[in-house]
Structures are given as structure tokens and as C-alpha cells.
């Protein structure tokens, strides 16, 4: 997070991580489609001609929020990492300074191992950057729910109950579950930052209020709570700072 008190500006960095071809870029494209034009910037994608992400994709979301302490600029930059194994160093570079990570898993049963390998890669890279899974808020999205050969909802629910991270189900190509995952991630990122930097007294905004404003700026007036809660599992960690 970059906090500029003078400009009352907060910049948050969210990173979408996951194995190759799990739909990270698709998530970002959908996010771009599904948000209000005046709050989103241009989607920067660095793709090769065969549609594989070479470096990363980045979508800036910028909006103002009126708070007790005055107007505040909020800048959220959402990044994806390149999933292919060879881009290890790029993944690490993109990951640095992330305020929260959404892990985009492929729901297909055949991809189980790739999901796990990528997750371990995430853990290794965070460690290399001197951080740990514990201090980076994480949500998990099981994408491609529309495909055949995927884990059933019941299986996912059962798995989610055993883990501590909230699990969102999505079909990013159809825009389903994209906003839910994003808001779930934004909420966890903000609550963590609020707890660490006491943003509620510094900026005069409560986490729920922040989320409500973010939702309305992006075109989801009054839907923040509903979107954030559209997950399974994640109960064990509770809601930090709530």
C-alpha cells in the first residue's frame, strides 16, 4: 500500500496468481467489462500472440470517496502474474508489494496438481520476498465452473470447509464470480491495511463504509456486502478487524 496523506490518496495493489491458463487475464478482462467506465483505467495487457501473458496484465481502478475527513482518492491496481513456469522471476517481481492475493485455480480435476504446484510457487516467492502466507490476505477462486470434468460444488464446499481462505466459484469467461472474488479480495486487503495502519481514524472511513463506496463507484451500489459474502469456507480466520 502507498498512503499519501497530503493528497489523501491510498494506492492498493492486488495480485491475481495461479497456474498457466487458469483464467487470470480473463478475470481481469471481465473486471474491466463489469466496472463503470469512469472508475476504471485502460487495461494493460502484455500478451504474446498466442494469448499467453508474457509479463503481466494490469487494470487500474480509480475513484473518489467522500469521507468524514474529506474527499479521498482510492487507487486500486489489479495485476496478474504470468502463469507459465519459465516466468518465475517475473512472477516474483510482480508479486512484490502486493497487499492481497487472489489465487485463481482451475476447477478441472485434471488441473489439481498444477493448482497445487502454483500455490507452492506462490508460497516460495513470498518467502523469497521476505513475506509469508500468514501476512498476505488471500482468497481462492475456483474458475471455469462451466467446464465439464470439474470438481463438483459439493466437493469444493467440503474442501473449502477444511481451508481457512474464502473460496469463490467463478466462470470468468461469462463474468460470473468475478466481481464477488474482487470484492472479497478488496475487503480482506482493506481490513488488513485498516488493522495495520488504523485507516479508520487516519482517513475517517470505516471498512464497511469503504467497501460500500468502492462498490457504488464501480457500479455496484448497495451490493458490497452481498458480493463479499458470496463465498464458501473461510470461516476459520474470521473477519479480521470487523
Amino acid at each position: 500500500m502507498q498512503l499519501n496523506f497530503a493528497a489523501r490518496e491510498v494506492a492498493i495493489k492486488l495480485v491475481y496468481y495461479g497456474p498457466a491458463l487458469s483464467g487470470k487475464t480473463t478475470n481481469l478482462k471481465a473486471l474491466h467489462e463489469l466496472t463503470k467506465a469512469d472508475s476504471r483505467g485502460r487495461l494493460m495487457t502484455l500478451e504474446t500472440k498466442d494469448d499467453r501473458t508474457l509479463f503481466f496484465d494490469m487494470l487500474p481502478l480509480v475513484f473518489k470517496a467522500e469521507t468524514e475527513g474529506g474527499a479521498m482518492n482510492l487507487r486500486v491496481k489489479v495485476f496478474t502474474v504470468p502463469g507459465q513456469v519459465v516466468h518465475a522471476s517475473t512472477r516474483r517481481l510482480v508479486l512484490q508489494g502486493a497487499d492481497a492475493v487472489a489465487f485463481i485455480a482451475d476447477s478441472q480435476v485434471a488441473e489439481t496438481e498444477n493448482n497445487a504446484a502454483s500455490f507452492l510457487d506462490l508460497r516460495t516467492n513470498l518467502k523469497e520476498l521476505g513475506r509469508s502466507m500468514r501476512d498476505v490476505p488471500l482468497v481462492i477462486q475456483f474458475n471455469k465452473r462451466d467446464l465439464p470434468g470439474v470438481r463438483t460444488d459439493a466437493e469444493l464446499d467440503e474442501l473449502a470447509r477444511r481451508g481457512k481462505e474464502p473460496v469463490f466459484k467463478a466462470s470468468a469467461v461469462h463474468g460470473q464470480g468475478v466481481m464477488e472474488s474482487f470484492f472479497g479480495l478488496l475487503e480482506r486487503a482493506w481490513r488488513k491495511l485498516d488493522a495495520e495502519h488504523d485507516l479508520r481514524s487516519k482517513l475517517g472511513i470505516q471498512p464497511d463504509e469503504f467497501l460500500a463506496k468502492a462498490a457504488s463507484s464501480l457500479g455496484y451500489e448497495g451490493k458490497a456486502r452481498m458480493l463479499c459474502d458470496a463465498h464458501v469456507g473461510g470461516a476459520r480466520s474470521g473477519k479480521a478487524g470487523a
Binding site: 502507498q2 494506492a11 495493489k13 483505467g41 485502460r42 494493460m44 502484455l46 509479463f55 503481466f56 487500474p60 480509480v62 482518492n73 487507487r75 491496481k77 495485476f79 516466468h87 518465475a88 522471476s89 517475473t90 516474483r92 517481481l93 510482480v94 512484490q96 508489494g97 518467502k127 523469497e128 520476498l129 521476505g130
Partner: protein, 487 residues
């Protein structure tokens, strides 16, 4: 922990960009010129800190006249600097009036939600302008208002909405350029940092590998030492076994029955065999640990080979294998240990005879050739350069020991020089041997700066090729082709 350069944070962080850094000024100038050519309105682009990046405008006659009058010139300067700094409001767009009745239109350039600069269009005459306002006359008493009004009337009128369309279009175009340039900047920076990061990882790995190699070399040295010590220790009791069995066989301790005689001779023969094996091991370990001293002296290959043939001729005759030599005058002086070279060729020729069936033929052929640096391998251009200077120094002797035996499959050829390696390693193998001979051969040849390799012999059999550099070549110490890691 990775020591990623902090600067790389800027690339994937949220640092504001500087318009000067991402936009090519000449390209920007060209763009502004084309807008100016199209609409006849002056275009200026400023970065957020006020730096002028592009300025394309023809001075209007009105402006030229005003600038001739000191008071009016001052007012004009004030207007221009106000247009440069006036806040464009929440919409990012504002019209700034000039005291002449003309106006400037100012539009913010926005990148990722931040204002990074502004476009100033003008001065232009708003569509509704008829007369210059009183503010014009107020700037300087000397100003001729009638003349100024006439000049103001010449300035083309522009409708506000048309102007806004032009401004909007230019803004969109410029923002696209800023986005693309920023994207290119991010790509190249990130590429650079990725390469650096990969390089760092590789370096770490190389360091770890080097440490492992050092450790392995040390272990290898210990192993060779151990082998040397053990061989020595094994030899001592064996000498007694051989000596006493020999004395028994000779009847020194009394006449033996034929059966006893046979047993004792077997003990003696096996003892000798074991001794050879141990000596071989000792040689190998000495060669490996580099403690075998080569007494290098001027030597010719001819006499060495003749001696080898003489030694092995009886063996070949017994097996009914023809043994031929072709080494007439190989006029090349070697710096070599003749005793060790004899060991090499005894080994090779003995092997050749061993693996050649009855009626077969073993040939030893020696000739002088040019070194590998001239005869191929590697980059042709590089190798042929300076041949006239280098050729005399690159003489070498090539000795080919060929047989018509069972041959060695191509895939096995590189391995035969490894210690204890046998092509046929089954317990029922037809041919005996310790598997040490060739590895000793290779190490001796290596110690002489030479090379040994295996080729197939048509239609069947094997050719062992030994090349030994001339004494002159070795003295000249031409760069070795052996990679340092293997040296």
C-alpha cells in the same frame, strides 16, 4: 531472500509517470502540427510540472500588434502563464479568457486517474465575439483600439462545441500515446529486471554447483589416496603368497605329487593375476591423484612400437592372429615417458589380440599428422586463421591400433575408458580382464597431452586411435582444447 532492486518496485507499483519520460517530443510535435494544420488553432502541451513539451502556433496579427505595445505585452504574458497553470476543475476542462476577447481552451491529460499534463488550445475567437472587450483598451493607453478591433475581426471564429470536440479528440489521442508509451516502458523495464533476477538465480546455482564440485574433487582425491594405500598394503602379503607358492612348485620344500604341483601352480598363477590387478589399481590411483611422475624425455614412437610388437608377437602367434606394424620413419620427436608409452601400446595391442578371433589381423600404424586445431572441429574460419604460423607447431603422431575382432558398439565407445568398465559385464563374459587397462591408457595419454579414442573398423573390429603432440607443440603450450572444468 531475493535482493530484487528496489527500483523494480516502480514498474509494478504505483509511481506517477512524468510525461517528459514517456512521450517522444518530436512525435508529439508532429501530432500537434497536424492538428494545427487541420484547424488553424495553436496547440501547446505542458507536463504537470509546467514544462512545455510541444508548441505549435502561428502568431496572430492581433497578438503581434499587442506585443508591440509594452503594457499590452505584459498583459499578454500574464494571460499565457495563467493558461499554463489555471486549474481545469473537476471536469478537467476549462476555457480561459484573454483580455482581447479571444480565449484559450485547456484540457487535462489523465493517465491512470492522475493528471499528468495539459493541452492548451488557442488563442481563438469564440463564435459570438463581435467587439474586443473594454479590458483590451485598459492594458495600455497607447494601444490603437480601432486597429486592434480590425485585427481581432480577422481571427477565425470557432464554435465552443467544435473546439471541445477538437480538444476531446486530441486528449484521447494523446492519452492513448501516453498509455502505449507507458506500456512499452513498463515492458522493457520489467524485461530488464526479469533478466537480472534470472541471472542472479543462475549465479546462485553456479556457486552451489562449484561448491559441490570442489567437495566431490576432494572426495575423489581421498578415494585415490585410499586406493593407493590399500594397494600397497595388499601387495605385501601377496608377495609372500607368490614367493612361497613358487618355491613349493620348484620343489624346494620337497618333491610334490603331480596333483599337488598343479594346485600350487594354480595358486601361483592366480597370485600373479591378483598382483597385476593390484598394480593396475595402484597405477590408476597414482595417475588419478597426479602422483605418478612421468619421466619425459625426447623420444620417438618407432622404437616403442617395435618393442611392443616383439613382446606380443608370441602371444599373437599362439592365438594364430597376424600382427603387423607400419611405422616406417615417423620423424617426430615426442616429449614422453617411453616406459609409460610402452605400457599404453602393450595394453592396446594385447587387448586387440585378445578380442580378435583366430585367423584375424591386428595392425599398428603410425604417422605424423597435423593437430586438431588445423584439421577441423570448431569454427572453420577461426581454425584456418594463421595456419602458416601455427602449422609447424601443431605436428602430432597418430597411432592406430586396429583389429578384426568383435568390435565395440558405437554407444559404448566413450565409456570404455572409464575405470572398471566392461562392454560385457555379465558374470559369464567370454573375455577376462580387470577393466582397468583402458582407463590407465587414457590417463597416461592424457598426461602426455594426447588423446585416445575408439572407432569402428570396417567390416568388423575396432580401431583405437592415440594422438600424441610433438615435443615442439608441447613446448609452445598452445591453448588446450580441454575445457578447464575437466582439466
Amino acid at each position: 531472500m531475493s535482493d530484487i532492486p528496489p527500483a523494480s518496485q516502480d514498474v509494478v507499483g504505483d509511481q506517477p509517470i512524468a510525461l517528459e519520460d514517456v512521450v517522444d517530443r518530436d512525435a508529439l510535435d508532429d501530432l500537434c502540427k497536424s492538428i494545427h494544420a487541420l484547424f488553424g488553432i495553436g496547440v501547446r502541451v505542458y507536463a504537470s510540472q509546467g514544462a512545455l513539451l510541444a508548441n505549435v502556433a502561428n502568431e496572430l496579427e492581433l497578438c503581434r500588434y499587442i506585443n508591440e505595445v509594452p503594457g499590452s505585452r505584459a498583459a499578454c504574458g500574464a494571460t499565457v502563464s495563467a493558461a499554463k497553470s489555471v486549474a481545469p476543475g473537476d471536469d478537467g476542462e476549462v476555457t480561459h479568457p484573454c483580455f482581447t476577447g479571444l480565449a484559450y481552451h485547456i484540457v487535462s491529460l489523465v493517465h491512470e486517474g492522475r493528471r499528468v499534463g495539459r493541452i492548451v488550445l488557442g488563442p481563438y475567437a469564440p463564435a459570438g465575439l463581435r467587439e474586443p472587450p473594454p479590458s483590451l483598451a485598459e492594458t495600455d493607453k497607447r494601444l490603437d483600439v480601432v486597429q486592434a478591433s480590425e485585427l481581432a475581426a480577422k481571427v477565425p471564429r470557432v464554435k465552443q462545441e467544435a473546439l471541445q470536440r477538437i480538444a476531446g479528440h486530441l486528449k484521447e489521442t494523446l492519452e492513448l500515446i501516453i498509455f502505449s508509451s507507458h506500456k512499452a516502458w513498463v515492458t522493457s523495464k520489467l524485461h530488464l529486471y526479469s533478466v537480472r533476477e534470472s541471472y542472479r538465480e543462475l549465479q546462485d546455482k553456479t556457486t552451489r554447483l562449484e561448491q559441490t564440485l570442489t567437495r566431490l574433487k576432494e572426495v575423489d582425491r581421498l578415494k585415490s589416496n585410499f586406493l593407493a594405500t590399500m594397494s600397497h598394503e595388499l601387495r605385501t602379503p601377496l608377495t609372500s603368497i607368490i614367493g612361497y607358492s613358487e618355491m613349493l612348485a620348484e620343489g624346494i620344500a620337497g618333491e610334490l605329487a603331480p596333483e599337488q604341483q598343479e594346485y600350487v601352480r594354480t595358486i601361483h598363477a592366480k597370485g600373479e593375476q591378483l598382483l597385476r590387478l593390484i598394480m593396475g589399481l595402484l597405477d590408476l590411483s597414482k595417475l588419478e591423484s597426479g602422483t605418478m611422475s612421468l619421466r619425459q624425455a625426447p623420444a620417438q614412437i618407432g622404437p616403442v612400437l617395435n618393442e611392443v610388437i616383439t613382446t606380443l608377437a608370441p602371444v599373437a602367434r599362439k592365438k594364430d592372429v597376424e600382427l603387423a606394424i607400419d611405422s616406417d620413419g615417423v620423424p617426430c620427436e615426442l616429449a614422453a615417458d617411453a616406459e609409460r608409452l610402452r605400457q599404453v601400446f602393450i595394453n592396446l595391442v594385447d587387448n586387440a589380440v585378445k578380442f580378435t578371433p583366430k585367423g584375424g589381423k591386428v595392425t599398428v600404424r603410425a604417422r605424423v599428422t597435423e593437430g586438431p586445431a588445423l584439421s577441423g572441429g570448431g569454427d572453420d574460419d577461426d581454425d584456418s586463421a594463421g595456419a602458416v604460423l601455427l602449422a609447424p607447431l601443431l605436428k602430432q603422431v597418430e597411432i592406430r591400433v586396429s583389429d578384426t575382432g568383435i568390435g565395440i558398439p558405437a554407444a559404448e565407445r566413450a565409456k570404455v575408458f572409464e575405470a572398471f568398465y566392461q562392454v560385457d559385464s555379465s558374470s559369464t563374459r567370454e573375455y577376462g580382464g580387470t577393466g582397468l587397462g583402458l582407463s590407465i591408457v587414457k590417463r597416461i595419454v592424457d598426461a602426455h597431452g594426447g588423446q585416445v579414442s575408439v572407432e569402428g573398423n570396417e567390416p568388423n573390429g575396432t580401431v583405437f586411435v592415440v594422438t600424441l603432440p610433438s615435443a615442439q607443440t608441447r613446448r609452445a603450450a598452445l591453448p588446450s582444447r580441454v575445457p578447464p572444468a575437466l582439466a
